[in-house]
């Protein structure tokens, strides 16, 4: 079953990559603010149904994909 995880820096957490992107965009002439950079992970998990897939991906986030102190995550399971 295909799943997508989006991991973002939590509010209030410094995001140097986001700042770099924002500065670079401003240098290119864009009017931009509040840029934040996170990551997206697409993967295929073995699971019998969507709920089981989501539970498994949740464990992956807790153990590897996200740092719960600094990052929040969203999981989407595709049919």
């Amino acid at each position: 079953m295909r799943a997508t995880v989006v991991v973002r820096p939590k509010q209030g957490i410094l995001d140097p990559q986001g700042e770099a992107v924002e500065n670079a965009l401003e240098h290119l002439g864009f009017s931009v603010a509040g840029a934040r950079v996170g990551k997206v992970v697409d993967l295929e998990v073995e699971a019998t149904d969507a709920a089981a897939a989501r539970a498994q991906v949740e464990r992956m986030c807790e153990q590897l994909l996200a740092n719960p102190l600094m990052e929040s995550y969203e999981i989407e399971v595709h049919g």
Copy 2:
């Protein structure tokens, strides 16, 4: 206006970060395949309407956020 850009490695393009994530998840005991890692950029653009915001973010992708040879991108404009 808030926008979200998701940038992913194109199909067929080697994704070492995705492979590393997949290997690490397997070592943790998960059954996982086809992991791919991309990035997500959230930002605020100055624009009068959603179409103008989208056009501007499209230019940002072409000029900075994505490498069109290796990456594809999706833009979502929030209200």
